[in-house]
């Protein structure tokens, strides 16, 4: 599984910043395109997993590595994780209209939307960096972005939206709408945003974008970015930041 030289450089950078090795491995049943598990609890290294068969492997791995780099670029005292207490989780479940769902399902969905809050907000920084600094991966990046855009469009189907409560659907769609807006502009295909605008998400896009633009693109400000996005998508009080530890 040879990775592109620029990806190998990123691996080295993570390893230097964190003093832990990086392992990249396939995982057939992975739901996401790729994930990263930082090294902790005695794990020998950071693990980047990806779904096999992806033609965009280098980009997928690079983007996961960039998330790690942003974490380890910050001084140890300023690194953080997102967690929810039971009270916060209940608050989030109520805010997202998930009260009528079985608790395990409601917990899974609230956890999922908080993950999206983190991966989309910081993900824009990550993708922007890759776009500007790794032109050799641009083709792969564009293919993956287009694939994500198509997936987000599919989620607009009435059959999909009616399965979930409106606050949750709106939180998800607002972030997807910003994704369509920013990538539509970058790819010169503003059509991606038309369905979202038609559904009234222009205001949310403007709010999220304003925060994204106002917050400095500095890993030390990633936490602030998430904090400021949370009220826009209705997730105020549904989580808190705790210091990052390797335990």
């Amino acid at each position: 599984m040879p990775l592109a030289p620029e990806v190998q450089q990123l691996i080295q950078q993570v390893e230097q910043l964190s003093n832990r090795p990086v392992h990249v491995m396939e995982e057939t049943d992975l739901k996401a395109r790729a994930t990263v598990t930082p090294a902790r609890r005695g794990a020998p290294g950071h693990i980047v997993r990806f779904r096999p068969g992806s033609p965009s492997l280098d980009y997928l791995v690079a983007s996961q590595l960039q998330f790690l780099i942003r974490t380890f670029t910050c001084p140890a005292a300023e690194r953080w994780d997102i967690v929810s207490t039971d009270t916060e989780r209940d608050l989030g479940i109520k805010a997202m209209g998930l009260g009528g769902f079985e608790e395990p399902l409601a917990r899974m969905m609230i956890s999922s939307i908080i993950t999206q809050l983190r991966t989309y907000s910081i993900g824009f920084r990550v993708d922007d960096w890759i776009w500007k600094n790794l032109p050799g991966l641009r083709q792969q990046q564009e293919a993956e972005i287009r694939s994500q855009l198509a997936e987000n469009e599919r989620a607009l189907k009435p059959e999909t939206r009616q399965k979930f409560p409106k606050p949750l659907v709106d939180a998800n769609s607002s972030m997807n709408a910003l994704y369509a807006t920013l990538w539509g502009e970058r790819l010169h295909e503003t059509r991606f945003v038309i369905p979202f605008v038609a559904m009234g998400y222009r205001g949310k896009v403007a709010d999220l974008r304003a925060v994204l633009d106002e917050t400095p693109d500095d890993p030390a400000c990633d936490r602030m970015l998430i904090e400021r996005w949370a009220p826009v998508v209705g997730l105020t009080g549904a989580f808190h930041f705790k210091p990052y530890t390797t335990d």
Partner: protein, 361 residues
């Protein structure tokens, strides 16, 4: 990924009504669905492909197909206008200008279409912006002049047409419109030069020929005016321009007719007297049949100044001159419908003929 269609669907209930024009936000039923459809089609114009939009009772379905052969938004808008889809054309051009306020083609075409739609104030703003941004854009000054003329500012319009000619001396529309505007402001001689240039450059433009005909008629150059009017009738048979040309020809014929014999023409007096006498003994239906037969014949053109008896009727025996038939028609309409104006004034002869027959008019 060209030519790969894909569908996007979302619930109709989630559509944001506030995106529609104000007068469409309260629509219901099929009109509402149609308004959404048109709005979304407009949004996808100029996106490098084609969108088909269907709106059902519960969802909006967009089928998007990318294409390499995308034309600009302004071109698409102009094409809609050419195909007579005015609303769609205007909507498309507005989107083009939202994306690029300096799009000269969009400014020009939207400005012109708004003049035609009688939104002259907005048209003026757009066309003034156009000449400021792209003063050499073909026919930009002409379009501005047309808008100014529609606003009643003939002198300002003339200045714009002149500016257009300075930049494009062979612009036929600059000559055509400058000639028309000068004629309107009474500057007939200078106008005629431009109108003659216009018909050379636009030999199939009926409006240009009509403008020239009217100028020549006003200037008393009746033979040339008749030729110009005849050209209009040939180019626009049955159209409203041909009607105007026909009216012009009739005016000229009457002038000639009056000039030929002074106040009362004895031949017309005789024809009117004969017609009154014949119609006196006829049932109303027969008068109507004869009158309408002549009217139908007259639609193809009666030569009033030709003395030869070359016309026959099914409803009356004999051979007739064009003038004779016209007199019968005039008298016939006085009986069946006096409000009809046949476009030829022989009222003095008719009045005298009535007086001689001891009849009220």
């Amino acid at each position: 990924m060209p030519d790969t269609p894909h569908d996007i669907q979302f619930p109709l209930a989630d559509f944001d009504r506030s995106l529609l024009p104000e007068d469409q936000r309260e629509l219901l039923g099929d009109s509402y669905l149609q308004a959404i459809r048109e709005h979304l089609i407009g949004q996808f114009v100029g996106q490098g492909g084609a969108a088909e939009v269907a709106v059902t009772h519960d969802r909006v379905i967009i089928r998007w197909k990318e294409s390499d052969k995308a034309e600009s938004l302004a071109d698409q808008g102009a094409n809609h206008l050419k195909q007579g889809n005015t609303d769609k054309g205007i909507a498309t051009l507005r989107v083009a200008l939202e994306r690029d306020p300096a799009d000269a083609a969009a400014l020009f075409n939207l400005g012109m279409s708004l003049v035609e739609a009688r939104h002259v104030g907005e048209a003026l703003e757009l066309l003034e912006r156009l000449v400021a941004i792209a003063p050499d854009y073909p026919s930009a000054w002409v379009a501005l002049g047309v808008a100014q003329g529609s606003f009643g500012e003939i002198d300002v319009a003339i200045q714009s047409f002149r500016e257009g000619l300075v930049r494009h001396p062979q612009d036929p529309f600059a000559h055509k419109n400058l000639g028309a505007a000068l004629s309107q402001s009474g500057q007939l001689d200078e106008a005629r030069d431009h109108l003659k240039a216009a018909v050379v450059l636009l030999p199939s433009d009926a409006q240009a020929w009509l403008n020239l005909g009217m100028n020549l008629e006003q200037s008393g150059v009746t033979a040339e005016a008749e030729t110009a009017y005849q050209r209009v009738i040939t180019l626009d048979p049955g159209g409203h321009l041909a009607e105007k040309a026909e009216a012009g020809r009739n005016r000229i014929t009457q002038i000639k007719f009056r000039n030929a014999c002074g106040a009362l023409r004895p031949d017309v007096l005789t024809y009117c007297g004969d017609a009154i006498r014949v119609f006196e003994t006829m049932p109303q239906e027969e008068v109507q049949r004869t009158t309408l037969e002549i009217a139908m014949l007259g639609a193809k053109g009666l030569t009033v100044n030709d003395p030869s008896t070359k016309y026959q009727l099914r409803s009356l025996p004999g051979d007739f001159t064009g003038l004779h038939l016209l007199c019968i028609e005039y008298v016939g309409f006085k009986i069946i419908d006096p409000t009809v104006d046949i476009g030829f004034d022989i009222s003095a002869e008719y009045a005298e003929a009535c007086r001689l027959r001891g009849q009220p008019q």
